[in-house]
């Protein structure tokens, strides 16, 4: 059999054929790979390139006062931004914007000349502010809608409400504490777009609706809050005090009706002084002084150690171990009933009662009234105050504590003590949020802790003693026309941790500054309100005691509050 010989043209044909077969083979394999193995991945990648997701911001919940007045709400505002690459004459554009935005031309121009394609020009303008800019029709200036948090009543309850940051997240106050409730859940808008960025009609289009935040109904009474703020500001001006704080509690529910501090701030235009943002009613402490005598006396009466009529022989000073204590004014040794000791705010008399009460019982009642622990109010930054464990007390510590020293309390804690007396001896967890309102309008109330500190009988006796303070004692300027009210004055020297006492080597001494306070309840027979007024470091000499400085403020706020609540006069 002869061997077939390959001619050159056959060989060429073979190679060309083989090349095409191989080429088609490679294409076929790639095709199978692309259409089969990688199909889903590539499809997803292509879709990803075409899909665009826009986050839909959830509307933040509204905060109402107890009467349904809007204290904080979210509205749609306009943010102005620029693409510097689209701006041919930054100087002219900056000059045009400067007058409308109230910003220097140079500052805006520097931003518009930056090597970037996005720069904020002004954020969250209201329509009447944004429209004039829109009308200029400037090249490279664009507009986008953004939610804006506004506080229509300005500084009303500013330290209670707090404020939000530029991203609408709560930074202070209720806005911060209830962030999870108020913020809601953002949604998404997903759509397909072409290479030129246009929406592809009938392409993928999905809207995942944002869930609006829940609303909050506060226990704050807007009008009472306003009045308390006005009084705090006036008192600060009149006394030259560093600050004035006023707390109003409903004694039957421990709802905070007003929590005012002066100075304050406007959450619509927050400045740089972060000290103003703090709600000092729950974040700052002071030594309560004479207002705490209420606890010492109440404990002694509750334990059956004394009665209001029990007479003590009271000198104007007393030595307890290494310390000597004095009454506010000099007097001869005199017989004083317990009621008189409270009415005249006698330090020595109270220490005599403590000597019969003892440290252990005093400590137990201080704890019972909520001193040294968090009140549990739904507010951020609350401090528990200072109450040293009884086993760490020195020999004279009980005496100091019985008249309100060596203890640090917040204005809210101390007002709660008086509210407990007004509430027949039942302490309740104070609260500032009444209800969380669901989008459908249903509201959820919050749990509240309570415990009995005094019997109703002892609480009643204490109310009579407190009424005596106002009728004939140190708190006569707290009287409210038409109503019987009770309360207790307090004037406490402020402990300065950095001050060096004469002859001492370790810093820490009582300075010249005082906290003048008055806390009371009204009406005395059937209390509705407990109000605390705290004047921090009054500088006017004649206005440095609680009875002179804080009591008149208490009187005015109590009168307004009782009228506001429609409480009929009860004075005999």
């Amino acid at each position: 059999m002869g061997r077939k010989r390959w001619r050159p043209q056959h060989l060429r044909l073979f190679f060309v054929g083989a090349f095409f077969i191989a080429a088609w083979g490679v294409i076929a394999v790639k095709l199978v790979f692309v259409q089969g193995v990688q199909a889903q991945t590539l499809e997803d990648q292509a879709l990803d390139q075409r899909l665009r997701t826009i986050t839909l911001e959830a509307d933040r919940g509204t905060i109402y006062d107890r009467d349904g007045r809007e204290l904080a709400l979210t509205i749609e505002a306009t943010t102005v931004y620029a693409n510097p690459h689209e701006i041919t004459e930054p100087g002219l554009t900056a000059a045009a914007l400067s007058g409308l935005l109230g910003r220097p031309v140079g500052e805006i121009q520097a931003e518009l000349e930056g090597d970037t394609s996005f720069v904020y020009v002004a954020r969250k303008l209201l329509r009447h502010e944004a429209d004039p800019i829109r009308e200029l029709d400037l090249d490279g200036i664009h507009f986008v809608a953004e939610p804006k948090r506004v506080y229509p009543s300005g500084n009303l309850a500013a330290q209670v409400l707090g404020f939000v940051g530029t991203d609408n997240g709560g930074l202070e106050g209720i806005e911060h504490f209830y962030e999870d409730v108020l913020a809601g859940r953002p949604g998404q808008l997903i759509f397909e777009r072409s290479g030129r960025g246009r929406v592809i009609p009938q392409g993928e289009y999905e809207v995942r609706e944002a869930v609006r935040g829940q609303d909050l109904a506060l226990t704050i009474d807007g009008e009472l809050q306003f009045f308390a703020q006005q009084e705090a500001m006036t008192a600060r001006e009149e006394t030259g005090a560093k600050a004035v704080h006023i707390v109003v509690l409903d004694v039957t529910t421990f709802e905070v009706l007003a929590m005012a501090s002066a100075p304050t701030f406007d959450p619509n235009h927050i400045g740089r002084d972060s000290d103003l943002f703090r709600n000092r009613v729950v974040t700052d402490t002071f030594e309560p002084g004479s207002t705490q005598k209420l606890i010492t006396v109440a404990a002694a009466i509750e334990e059956g150690i004394v009665t209001p009529e029990r007479i003590f022989e009271v000198p104007d000073n007393i030595q307890v171990f290494d310390r000597e204590y004095f009454d506010f004014s000099e007097h001869e040794t005199q017989d004083m009933a317990v009621a008189d000791i409270v009415a005249q705010s006698s330090n020595v008399g109270t220490i005599l009662i403590w000597q019969e009460l003892g440290d252990e019982l005093l400590y137990r009642y201080l704890q019972g009234f909520g001193l040294g622990t968090y009140s549990g109010i739904d507010f951020p930054g609350e401090v528990p105050g200072v109450l040293q464990p009884e086993e760490k007390w020195c020999d004279s510590c009980g005496a100091s504590t019985s008249i309100g020293y060596r203890v640090a309390v917040t204005p809210l804690q101390m007002t709660s003590v008086f509210a407990t007396v007004g509430n027949d001896g039942v302490w309740m967890q104070p609260r500032v949020v009444d209800a969380i309102i669901e989008p459908g309008g249903e509201s959820a109330s919050l749990n509240q802790q309570t415990h009995q500190v005094l019997s109703a009988e002892t609480a009643g006796i204490m109310r009579q003693l407190l009424t005596g303070v106002v009728e004939s004692g140190t708190g006569q300027l707290a009287q409210v026309p038409g109503y019987s009210v009770g309360g207790k004055t307090g004037t406490t020297e402020k402990f300065e941790p950095d001050l060096l006492c004469p002859g001492a080597t370790v810093p820490g001494c009582y300075g010249d500054d005082v906290v003048a306070s008055f806390i009371g309840i009204g009406p005395s027979d059937s209390p509705r309100l407990a109000i605390g007024v705290f004047v921090d470091s009054p500088s006017v000499d004649k206005k440095r005691t609680g009875g002179v400085t804080a009591a008149p403020v208490f009187s005015r706020v109590m009168r307004f509050a009782l009228h506001q609540l429609g409480v009929p006069p009860d004075a005999r």
Binding site: I75, E76, P152, S153, Q202, Q225, A571
Partner: protein, 137 residues
């Protein structure tokens, strides 16, 4: 009938007319005409539907813009109402009008309603069955 030119290179004298049946152009039947009309109608319907969709999309965009504008307006009115209701403004307005806070509270106490059978007696005596008393303390 369309004229045909003679192929190149063939003398014209050798060309002749071939007798026989003339070829008629293909006739379009009624059915085919119907399909054609349907196809054209569908084509226009498709175009119209696209135009309709685009117009609707345009209207939706317009309406969305309008809604957004009205929502902004609503928000601003809501803000305005809240500002007008704020205690600061009302207090300032009240002061401007010369109003002051009352020094003392006056109570108005209404007696319990008089039983129906006594109303006649009171009426005959010239007395009102509900007399509010105003007192101050």
């Amino acid at each position: 009938m369309a004229a045909r030119t003679a192929p190149l290179g063939i003398p014209r004298s050798r060309l002749r007319v071939i007798p026989g049946k003339s070829r008629n152009p293909a006739r379009i039947g009624v059915r085919q005409l119907g399909w054609l009309v349907v196809a054209i109608a569908m084509f226009f319907a498709l175009i119209y539907s696209r135009i309709f969709l685009d117009r609707a999309a345009f209207q939706i965009t317009n309406l969305e813009g309008l809604i957004s504008e009205q929502e902004t307006r609503f928000d601003e009115l809501r803000l305005q109402v809240a500002q007008l209701e704020s205690p600061q403004r009302i207090y300032a307005e009240a002061q401007r009008m010369g109003m002051v806070l009352p020094e003392e509270a006056r109570t108005v106490s209404a007696p319990m309603p008089v039983p129906a059978d006594e109303i006649g007696e009171l009426a005959s005596a010239g007395k009102s069955p509900l007399i509010a008393t105003v007192g101050s303390r």
